[in-house]
């Protein structure tokens, strides 16, 4: 976490531009590294160590904080001009017209990505439409996988453990079958991989718009790959992959609240039903024999 306040990059004077950013350490470091060679000021807001877009959504990268920080740093005495360059995604939390009204500073929303900042500054603060759009390329989807990987590892292993516990019940008595336990672990983990990694990576190429449907389809394909289509795994693996894939909406850069609510109203009951029916089927097979 970076200490909020005003930082100098190079040797800025009273006419140097002011770039506003969050106090997430990684954000600050990226902004600074992309502006090497420029003489300017970086105004760091107190966003509780959260990145610009998320902080703007929560309101910490917001109008009030910017006004507070402008006063605390006495920026109006440091620079002669009255222009602030904000990251475009900060617009979620900062109302440019309010800043102008209350502080006299004009807010210019710069590019979405820090890597475009130098071009933006050289082009007299003009951002191309390309610089203004949020995308979700393979590289960005790829780096987000560890977040999902960690978040779902425990629930997945618990479910595998639960199924292994159930698998000791057989029509002719109670016994542990190591081979079966291995299959349970493999299949559960495979469905987990479908949801945390395969669906995010292949996101734009999988049919359907809803993430839960994409995840379900990946689950079904995996079931087919292990030739388990007429087994309880069809339901169990599809439910797991679909549920985990649905959670990738939070990492994606283009899903809306209304949209996710809509898909969840249909998907969550189906996922639950599939899982429960899958487990009942799983039990029925061994109890009936």
């Amino acid at each position: 976490m970076k200490e909020p306040g005003l930082y100098a990059l190079g040797e800025p004077d009273e006419n140097s531009p002011v770039i506003v950013t969050a106090n997430y350490k990684l954000t600050f470091d990226i902004v600074r590294s992309k502006l090497v060679g420029f003489n300017l000021y970086i105004l760091v807001l107190d966003t509780k160590g959260v990145n610009v877009w998320c902080a703007a959504g929560k309101g910490t990268f917001g109008t009030d904080e910017l006004i507070t920080r402008l006063k605390a740093t006495h920026l109006s005495e440091v620079v002669a001009h009255r222009t602030l360059i904000l990251p475009q995604l900060g617009a979620v939390g900062v109302a440019a017209h309010e800043i102008k009204k209350q502080t006299g500073f004009k807010v210019v929303f710069g590019p979405v990505r820090a890597e475009d900042l130098s071009t933006f500054l050289i082009n007299e603060m003009n951002a191309t439409p390309e610089m203004r759009q949020v995308r979700f390329p393979l590289r960005d989807r790829f780096v987000l996988i560890p977040v999902e990987l960690v978040g779902f590892v425990l629930p997945t292993l618990l479910l595998a453990l639960f199924l292994t516990g159930l698998s000791i019940f057989h029509h002719n008595g109670l016994y542990f079958d190591a081979h079966e336990a291995k299959i349970i672990l493999r299949n559960t983990v495979l469905a987990y991989v479908g949801g945390v990694a395969i669906t995010p990576i292949c996101l734009p190429w999988i049919p359907f718009r809803s993430f839960s449907a994409k995840g379900a389809l990946v689950g079904i394909v995996l079931v087919m790959l292990i030739s388990a289509i007429m087994t309880p795994w069809l339901l169990i693996m599809t439910a797991i992959s679909s549920f985990i894939a649905m959670n990738f909406t939070g990492s994606s850069t283009y899903t809306s609240l209304s949209g996710v609510q809509k898909e969840m109203r249909l998907a969550v009951p189906l996922q639950l039903a599939a899982l429960v029916m899958g487990i009942v089927w799983f039990m029925a097979l061994r109890l009936i024999g």
Partner: protein
């Protein structure tokens, strides 16, 4: 590649009568939802909207309404569990 989510779900509305044509919504929208035509804002493609609320926050004429929120399943589940609005429990780099 333009990624779009579900169709016809966004709560975004634009009151063209109130619009003063400043173009701020065109600037702040991260998904190229707006354009300026004949000095008025217009919605190019509603299905690209992710309800982030940047346009509403920065519309000085108060011509834009959108129910701002997080498009995050975990956040929605957390909201249901806590009995609050959909909210994000995590912080930092990955999700929010």
């Amino acid at each position: 590649m333009q990624t779009t989510y579900l169709k016809n779900v966004s709560t975004l509305t634009l009151n063209v009568d109130k619009c003063i044509g400043c173009g701020m919504c065109v600037v702040v929208c991260p998904h190229n939802v707006f354009a300026l035509q004949e000095k008025k804002a217009t919605v190019l493609d509603l299905d690209r909207c992710m309800e982030c609320g940047a346009c509403q926050t920065n519309c000085v004429a108060e011509a834009i309404y959108v129910k701002k929120g997080v498009g995050c399943a975990a956040g929605i589940i957390l909201g249901v569990v806590k009995g609050t609005e959909p909210t994000c429990g995590c912080s930092g780099g990955g999700c929010c």
